[in-house]
């Protein structure tokens, strides 16, 4: 296992290199010039030239890319072009609200989805299963924006159940502001997760060993919880764990509409203003989280399926 972990961690290097190369090419090929944004509409030719030199934009692309790789290796991306804030503290400050929003939404959805999908698989084909399936399809068909607009107008403004938008630092004051975004997260994600988990469970339920167990006289409850559920966890674990790295990004749409100062909002704002250091930092962070997320998935596999050995 140890050698496997070391090998997988070493895979991070080519992954980060590949991501860095793609981001670098996209930024220099597609993104707008950050120097003009930094200096404003009254920028003079000399100021632009001086700033380009200071930021290294007049160097060859190869040299700029090498400097970028150095920043990735040390995770020191300096300061934001737009706000001149230290990027480390920007990301740190943004991660908290994003992670809180995302983890509350994610785990609430996960628990609810598991409960509902298990019930659907257990009562497969009956009115409960069909009813839930219909509601899931309807829920999946409604866009997140529609939920947000409805939630803010009806639940918050007209009924006063939740604040319309905003965020407070401090516990438990921030929970009040996260309640509706979390609810919307659950409503948006629930349908997808229930259908996937149900399919994974039913895939197991129709296998030969289940028929054998049934013919041996085991009860449905025992078959379901002791055999089907355990085997269905492999695809479910893959599906779930792969989303974990993205929890740190939160949800841009929710953060934007509810004025939550999270990292999703910071990232999209950085893209809009060609704030390359912030883009570099967040993409590097996501890449690292993806590698660790995949590794975590593989490790959890061994817990769920004893046949799997990591070599």
């Amino acid at each position: 296992m140890g050698r496997y972990l070391v090998r997988r961690l070493l895979y991070t290097i080519p992954v980060l290199f590949g991501v860095s190369l793609i981001v670098f090419i996209l930024f220099h090929g597609v993104a707008g010039d950050p120097v003009i944004i930094m200096l404003g509409k009254h920028a003079s030719e000399m100021q632009v030239r001086e700033l380009r030199h200071e930021l290294g934009f007049d160097q060859s692309l190869g040299l700029q890319f090498l400097n970028y790789l150095k920043q990735v290796a040390t995770f020191d991306f300096g300061r934001s072009f737009a706000t001149r804030e230290n990027i480390g503290s920007m990301i740190w400050n943004g991660m908290g609200p994003s992670f809180l929003l995302a983890s509350l939404g994610f785990f609430s959805t996960l628990i609810l989805s598991l409960i509902i999908s298990i019930a659907c698989a257990f009562y497969r084909g009956r009115w409960f299963d069909r009813g839930v399936g219909f509601i899931c399809v309807v829920g999946m068909s409604v866009s997140a924006l529609a939920y947000i607009l409805f939630g803010q107008y009806v639940l918050a403004f007209q009924w006063g159940w939740f604040p319309i938008s905003g965020y407070e630092n401090g516990f438990p004051a921030n929970l009040k502001y996260l309640a509706m975004p979390v609810l919307i997260w659950v409503l948006v994600s629930l349908g997808w997760d229930v259908r996937f988990f149900r399919a994974a469970l039913l895939d197991e339920a129709y296998k030969d060993y289940v028929r054998t167990a049934r013919s041996k006289g085991l009860s449905e409850v025992t078959i379901f919880y002791k055999h089907i559920l355990k085997n269905a966890m492999i695809p479910i674990v893959t599906y779930v764990v792969i989303q974990v790295p993205f929890l740190l990004l939160g949800s841009f749409l929710l953060e934007s509409f509810f004025s939550i100062p999270g990292i999703g909002y910071i990232t999209v704002d950085a893209i809009r203003s060609s704030d390359f250091p912030v883009i570099k930092a967040t993409t590097t962070l996501i890449s690292i989280m993806m590698v660790f997320g995949n590794l975590l998935t593989d490790i959890i596999y061994t817990l769920v399926d004893p046949r799997v050995r990591l070599r």
Partner: protein
């Protein structure tokens, strides 16, 4: 596993830091649609940073809150400056007894804010000039103060900037006297001294906080920034400065102000409230709903909610006026236009073609469709409310007339558009930009002009303009100060350049000569005459097709007093007064 739990716990802890304090009952709640980038005056080049910086810091001058047209008055300056005969030397008296906010940076006074001195201005303006600071406000003083460019050059050549080196044209004669010597007389220079860039900052704070000075502002303004509870991405809390000097609500205003209740607080001390909370609300719906629920005291009216708030004739809807909500509107002192690249071989040499295109654009329709009527057609470059604006001027090239436009197309050599290649139009990426492009395609299609739309980010648009890749481009210009010169400089040929503001490459020797004459004249009838002559030249030559001057609309709850919209002025909330009893009753 333990480390993972600890990490998650730390994240939760970050999300759950210090709890907020309750707002005082006379707190003013306002919103901004974009985050505040900085609280450092050297970098506040965007509207939202200015609106925050302007409450924490102060400048030598400010615009009178109520008077229109806008009038400069002393804020940190004790009256207007003494100006030499050649109009190049300006001597300012700084008000005595003005102190910086209390801050740990003032070690000598044990954290108590020390008095503002004339040397603080010299330091702050050198800081704008310091190439290591990379201030976006350097353009204000670039080439204007004797010796400052040389100082900047020396600073750029040395590893550490020596702020003790003198600048001959920037002197603190004593603690409360500042003298500036200009390289050339400039009637617009005083306006620059009302811009937040020029706010004095204490060297002690810059030295202590270094690169984090932008998040640890120390000004002389009516409000103090609450660092722990604020977040520039979501909410900014500004508390009354307990050591603020005696400044008073104005005693006179514009016609109609008294009748509108704007002089009820005449002579009363400022600020008129204890706290201002600025909520960053990017999206229109939550912004509007927060106003309607009383969480915001003043708000703009989003485009999508405009018709639910304002009727067809521009009055507030009955359900809002019954609730005591007031509607306020003010010209935005800006200009939107379609720029033309005069170096383009097709458009550059064919004035008649440009005039034809100009006549084919129905601005009234565009304003109705895009702005819900919240703009007036621009007939010239200078907007209403700005010196030099001529309300009697009728620009024949901005009178929509399809028949005339077709005649001009034929005269230009392209009858019904035959033989005219597709024209390329660059537009900044936005929903409004896309909608405007669709309207343009239809309107110009009526005279046979085909458009290819290229949506661009702002930096790409500027790059394309300066590289002369555009033929036509959509743009706007907001006034930096209320002087027509700020709009006419867009057509001055010396502003053509890789990063100049003459985006059109417009060259007219007579225009340039009038422009240079006007620069030497004080505000008055003689200068206005020159401005109007220049505006007519530009209207005739059509280097740009003027689109509109926008009007800002806002709504105010009945418990908020003293609200008057303005294009200039970054600390207007210091005049607002909340009636807590009315708020408690109606909210």
């Amino acid at each position: 596993m333990v480390k993972l739990v600890l990490f998650l716990g730390c994240l939760l802890g970050v999300a759950c830091s210090s709890p907020p304090s309750a707002n005082p009952p006379n707190t003013v709640n306002v919103a901004m649609p974009a985050r505040v980038k900085t609280l450092d005056p050297a970098y506040s080049d965007d509207r939202y940073s200015n609106l925050s910086v302007g409450k924490i810091y102060e400048t030598l001058f400010q615009y009178h809150y109520l008077k229109r047209p806008y009038v400069l008055e002393g804020l940190l300056a004790d009256g207007m400056p003494l100006i030499s005969k050649d109009r190049k030397t300006l001597t300012f008296k700084i008000k005595k007894g003005v102190t910086f906010h209390d801050d740990p940076c003032f070690v000598a006074t044990q954290g108590k804010g020390r008095e503002l001195l004339a040397s603080d201005f010299a330091y702050a303006w050198k800081r704008l000039a310091d190439p290591k600071v990379r201030s976006s406000g350097w353009w204000i003083f670039d080439g204007k103060i004797v010796g400052l460019n040389d100082w900047r050059k020396k600073a750029g050549e040395s590893k550490f900037t020596d702020y003790s080196l003198d600048v001959p044209g920037l002197k603190a004669l004593d603690d409360h006297t500042l003298q500036i010597t200009l390289t050339a007389s400039s009637e617009q220079f005083l306006f620059s001294l009302a811009m937040p860039f020029t706010s004095p900052v204490p060297k002690e704070a810059v030295d202590l906080y270094g690169e984090d000075f932008a998040r640890n502002p120390v000004g002389t303004g009516p409000y103090i920034y609450r660092r722990k509870e604020s977040n520039l991405n979501s909410k900014i809390i500004l508390d009354r400065n307990p050591n603020y000097r005696k400044e008073y609500y104005p005693k006179e205003g514009a016609p109609g102000d008294r009748e509108n209740g704007l002089l009820e607080d005449a002579g009363k001390p400022l600020p008129r409230n204890d706290r201002v909370v600025i909520h960053i609300i990017e999206e229109d719906q939550p912004n509007w709903l927060n106003f309607m629920s009383g969480k915001l005291d003043v708000a703009g009216i989003p485009k999508d909610n405009f018709s639910s708030a304002v009727d067809e004739v521009g009055n507030l809807r009955p359900e809002l006026s019954k609730a005591g909500v007031k509607l306020i509107r003010e010209p935005a002192s800006d200009l939107t236009f379609m720029g033309i690249n005069l170096e383009d071989p097709i458009l550059g040499k064919n004035k008649t073609l440009r005039q034809a295109i100009s006549r084919a654009i129905d601005e009234e329709e565009t304003i109705r469709f895009l702005y819900n009527g919240r703009a007036v057609p621009a007939l010239g470059p200078i907007p209403p409310g700005v010196s030099g604006y001529d309300p009697s001027f009728k620009n024949p090239n901005r009178t929509f007339n399809l028949i005339e436009a077709k005649k001009l197309m034929a005269k230009a050599g392209y009858p019904e558009g035959k033989g005219l290649p597709e024209l390329v139009y660059y537009q900044e990426q936005s929903t409004t930009g896309r909608q405007y492009s669709e309207v343009l395609i239809r309107q110009l299609g009526a005279i046979g002009v085909k458009l290819k739309i290229v949506p661009s980010t702002w930096p790409d648009l500027i790059k394309a303009i300066h590289a002369h890749r555009t033929q036509l481009f959509g743009m706007g210009w907001g006034a930096d100060y209320p002087d027509g010169e700020n709009f006419l400089q867009l057509f001055y040929s010396r502003n053509i350049g890789e990063f100049g503001t003459n985006y059109f490459s417009y060259k007219n020797g007579e225009f340039d000569s009038l422009y240079e004459q006007a620069l030497r004249l004080p505000d008055g009838a003689a200068r206005n005459k020159l401005y109007q002559k220049m505006a007519r030249m530009v209207a005739e030559d059509v280097p740009a097709i003027f689109s509109s001057h926008r009007i800002t609309y806002g709504v105010v709850h009945p418990w908020v007093k003293n609200v008057k919209n303005g294009s200039f002025g970054n600390a207007n909330q210091k005049y607002y007064r909340i009636d807590p009893a009315i708020r408690a009753k109606l909210q």
